[in-house]
């Protein structure tokens, strides 16, 4: 049994002019110790997927269909009180901006002890001991002294490491990291990514890494979902996706990467024309068809299903022509 299983998830936001479907038929699994990447451009639905799992979709948003199973237990039907035992305890989340996540008027120690005591009946003294151990784990020097300091006394990279320590403090089974290094410099990003990878192995955790950066996904994750306009359009082993993307959008994304993608004779990057549609004006048929270079009539009429590829195990693509030679 998978640690986390998401089945046909649909999230929509009830707006004045009708329902906006932010996630449409999203299914995937996350195994123990597995590192799963969720990649896509802004507005693709990556963050909503993360939020939906721990039931943080706020009004007017709502899970309208599908199931979320964590260790076989339905999460989407839990009451708020029941969910609190899971969220921040069994499943932790790390957000993008380390300055916004920490409370600026409380010391690091208070915030760590508070988190732990919210989920476990233990004394402050014991909680403090665990906090120090977790800070050591994320390589904060002299953790005992650091506990009494405030967030502004730490640098951006250290703050993000403290947030990881807080996320780890209850020994969760899953960490959902939503763009954890986007606000950080590359050298710090490399440190944080190395750290997350090590922790998954040493602490027995599953990691769901949400990011727009294909480079980070390629370095850290084993499996990846590519999202576009609220749908999963390709799911594959990360190495397979990078070496041989099957969906035209994944291929376009990889080819558009400066320094890696293919360039034409005049050293121009291969670009995907246009931009991602607003969720209120998604084209009928395949949502990518207006930007696709191999679009046929069927693409304008029929929504392609996410289907398993014959030649590749654990590889799913939603394109009418996936696995076939490009028709031109």
């Amino acid at each position: 049994m998978a640690l986390l299983e998401v089945k046909n998830l649909e999230v929509s936001f009830a707006l004045r002019y009708g329902d906006l479907v932010a996630l449409d038929d999203v299914s995937f699994t996350l195994d123990k110790k597995e590192r799963l990447g969720v990649v896509g451009e802004s507005g693709a639905g990556k963050s909503v997927t993360g939020f939906a799992i721990i039931n943080l979709i706020s009004k007017p948003g709502k899970i309208t269909q599908g199931e979320i199973l964590f260790e076989g237990q339905r999460l989407d039907t839990l009451t708020e009180a029941e969910m609190r035992h899971i969220r921040g305890n069994r499943i932790s989340m790390i957000f993008q901006d380390p300055m916004m996540t920490l409370n600026p008027v409380l010391t690091i120690g208070t915030q760590m002890v508070e988190t732990l005591r919210a989920h476990r009946k233990i004394s402050r003294k014991e909680a403090k001991k665990i906090a120090i151990r977790k800070l050591e784990l994320v390589r904060i020097p002299s953790p005992a002294r650091r506990l009494s300091q405030y967030p502004h006394e730490f640098s951006g990279g250290m703050r993000q490491r403290i947030i990881i320590a807080i996320a780890l403090i209850t020994d969760p089974s899953i960490i959902i990291a939503d763009e954890p290094t986007t606000a950080l410099d590359v050298t710090i990003q490399a440190e944080i990514m190395d750290l997350l990878q090590e922790l998954c192995a040493s602490e027995d955790m599953g990691l769901m890494l949400i990011t727009h950066d294909l480079g980070v996904v390629a370095e850290v994750t084993e499996r990846v979902l590519v999202m576009y306009a609220g749908k999963v359009i390709e799911m594959a082993k990360t190495s397979d996706l990078v070496a041989n993307p099957l969906h035209p959008y994944s291929r376009g994304l990889i080819n558009a990467l400066p320094g890696y993608g293919k360039c034409d004779t005049a050293n121009r990057l291969q670009q995907i024309p246009g931009s991602m549609p607003n969720l209120t004006e998604i084209a009928p048929g395949c949502s990518f068809h207006p930007r696709c270079d191999r679009c046929q009539d069927i693409c304008k009429r029929e929504v392609p299903k996410l289907r398993q590829m014959k030649d590749f195990a654990s590889r799913f693509v939603s394109c009418h022509f996936a696995g076939q030679e490009p028709v031109k």
């Binding site: 490399a190 990889i254 558009a256 400066p258």
Partner: protein
Amino acid sequence: MSDSIVIIDDLVKYFDISGGFLEQLQFKSGKVIRQKTEVKAVNGVSLEIKKGETLAVVGESGCGKSTLARTVIGLYPPTSGQVFYRGQRIDNLSPKQMLPYRRRMQMIFQDPYASLNPRKSVRQTLEEPIRFHMPKSNKKEVKERVAYVMKQVGVNPGWKDRFPHEFSGGQRQRIAIARSLVVDPGFIIADEPVSALDVSIQAQILNLLMDAQEERGLTYLFITHDLSVVRHIAARVAVMYLGTLCELATTAELYNNPRHPYTQALLSAIPAIDGRKKQHIRLPGEIPTPINLPKGCVFHGRCIHANDRCLNEIPVLLQVGDSSGSYVACHGVEEGRV
């Protein structure tokens, strides 16, 4: 020297952050003294930008790359040092004398949501610089020029009466680029022009910048933190750390053979998509504050090769290699230790 369009000579920019008179007073060894606190953002940077090239300045946040750009174009007055545009010194000109150079040097900013006036239509945004810098042009010329530039940047000229909020981020950046192009500049400073954009849009904008460079013979000073973008667009790269240049080389040379220990660490940190597992070089410690710069080499506190000389003597940018035009400011490289 004649092929240099912009020469930056020993540019220094400090920002005074000491506040009011009372805040400047300090009690030291029995006396009250008045002391100013300064952020030393740029410390003696010299660069030559050749006509028609793209020179990239890379570095992490707080290294002074944006301050350098803004000082070069005259948005900040330099603390000391000189800036030349085609042989003419421009950092000490009066606003009136500076006018013709303001037209020749343009800037593109990072966030197209912030750099376009939300209350002005595209037409108003694009016509204003023409009216200001080319007062002799008549209505028809202005109109034609706007339409031509809009077409060049890939925005339908029929949308000229729309407002910024009606466009996507990529299209807004196109309009911001159009605004810098309407006055026929020779030199453009692009400060993180694609950092706020999605990957697929980023490629479109980079291609557009390269097309415009080819058509108009533009020279770019390209400020960015994204080393993959640099590799694609730039001919030469200058690496900055804490307000100083630590390495200057052609792009191929820098990526294949980084010499400065900081450049090596920076390059090893780029996430590689091709799955080759690279060993990240971990830099000990944190970037020191630019208020109290470390003595000697600014990088010594985080460098594994640092010795006594690095602690005390500031390294200068020296030419290395045969004739590739690579410059490195490192005692270790100079002595052959690194």
